[in-house]
Amino acid sequence: MPRAVKGVLVECDPSIKALILSIDSKSHNIVLADLDDEHLLIDVPMLEHVKRQLDSQLAENTFKPAELDDIQRK
C-alpha cells in the first residue's frame, strides 16, 4: 500500500537547494524530503517563510554598489 505525503514540490537549481537546506538546518521543520539535486518536498505552510528567507539571504549575498558609494562619501 503506497503512502501519500502532502507538500510543496520545489524545483530549483542546486545552489538554491543548498540555501533552503541551510535555512531548514536551524529548525528542521521545513524540508519533508530531499528528493534529488533539483527537487525538494517542503511543508505547505512554510513555503512563504522559505521564500522570504531566501530573498533576504540572496539580498545579503549581493554586492550593493549604491550603499558602497554612500559610505565612501561619508
Binding site: P2, L9, E11, I16, L32, L35, H39, L47, P65, D69
Partner: protein, 460 residues
Amino acid sequence: MSVPKFRTSINDFLEGLPETVLIRLFYSPATCLAIFRLLPAMAQLFIMAMLFNDKPVAATDLNLWVQEGSTSKQYDALEKLRGMHLVKQSQGMLTLQKTFRAGLRNALSGGDHNNSFGIPCDTEDKHKVDIEFLDEHANNQWELILHFMVGTDTGKIPNNGVLSLLRHSGLMEGSTPANMRITNAGFQFLLQDVNAQIWTLLLQYLNMSEDLHMDAVEVLHFLFMLGSLELGQDYSLAALSPTQKIMLDDLRDYGIVYQRKSSSRRFYPTRLATTLTSDTGALLTASASMDSAIAQKERDTGFVILETNFKVYAYTDSPLQIAVLNLFVHLRSRFANMVTGQISRESVRKALSNGITADQIVTYLTVHAHPQMRKSTPLLPPTVVDQIRLWQLEMERMKAVEGYLYSDFSSKSEYDTIAGYARDLGVMTWEKPNKRMFFVSKEGNQQIVDFVRRKVHSGA
C-alpha cells in the same frame, strides 16, 4: 518593440469585425487609405498589383512577385487580406473587394465626394493658431494625463471622460480622482512610445463607445480621417455626424484635436492625430514629413546615458520622464537639467514586481539613449543588459507546485501501474522510478487516490 504590436492590435480589431461592418467602413476613401497604410508591406504590394486591374488575378501569379524563401510572409499577407475581407479567393482566383477597390482608387486619384478627408474651413479664423501652438497644446494635454497617472502634483486633474477611460482600460483603479492609483498595466503603458499609448487608449475608447451605443463604424471613420488630416489646417465641423461631434469633445481632452471653444465651428488636428496611421517614413505630404523629421530631432533626441557601472545620467527636467525613470532606477541627485541615479538589484526588482519586464526596461533605455551613446555598438553596455535580464531570472529561481508525494510502493509492478496512470492523466510533475516515488499536483490527486482504492479493493 511595442509599436508593431499595437499596429497589429488595431489590425486585429479590424479583423474581428464582421464583413458587413467592414464593407460599411470601406465606403470612406480616407478609411481605405488608412487601412492600406496599416497593412504589412507584402500585403500592400498585392493590393497595388490588383488595384487598377478589374479582372481577377490567379493566386499562382502572386508567387512570381515573391522571392523564394519568403513564402511564409506571402502566406501571412494573404491571410491578413482575407481576414479583413479585402480579398476574395475562389477557384484559385483572387479578387479585390469591390467597395475597397473603389474607395482606395478614389483616395489615390482624387474625386472623393464623401468629404471623408475632412473639409478645410473656407473662412479665415480670427484666432488662427500655428503649428507650435498645436504641438504645445497636444503635449500639455497628453502629459497632463501621464502626469496624473504617475501622481505628479500639477494641481490639475484631467476631465471626467479621461478618468473614466483610464479606469475602464484598467490602467488606473479607484473611484475618485484623489484615490485613483496606477495599476501594473498602467506602468507598462507608461514605458511605451506616444503613438502606441494613443492607440491603446483609442482602442479602449472604441470598446467603451460600443457600450455607449455609439456606432463603431462612425468612430473608426473619424479616427482614420484624423490620421489623414494636415497639421496646421483648420477643418469645419459641418461634415461631422452627431456621434463624431460627441467624439470631438472627448478627443479634445486627450489633446488629439484642438478647439478654441466647444461651440467653435472649426477644429485643428494636432500632431498626435496626424501621425495616427503613419510611420514617420510614410507621412501624408512632403512638408508634413519634413516638419516631423525636424520636430523629432528636437523633441525626441534621447537623453539617457547608461554606463557600464550601472550609473544613469538623464538630461531631462521633465517631471514625467523622471517619474518614469524612477520606476526602475534608484535616483540619487537632481540638477537643473539632469538627474543621476543607479540601476540596482532593488530598483529593478521593484520594477519587476510591478509587472514591468526586463525587456521593457531595455527597450526604454534603447529608445531614449543619448546621441553620445549611439556612437558605441552595442548601444547599451551588455553587462548591464545581461544583469537586468539575470535579475528577472532570479525572481523565478524557485518553482513551487503544491500536491502529494507518493512513496513506499510494495512492488515495482504496483509502482508502474499507478505511476503509469498518473502519467497518462498528465498530473505527474516529477518522478524517480528507481526510488519508486512520484509527485502529483493537488488538482489531480483525488483521481489517483480513487484509482489506488479501486486497485486495493480488487486486489484484496
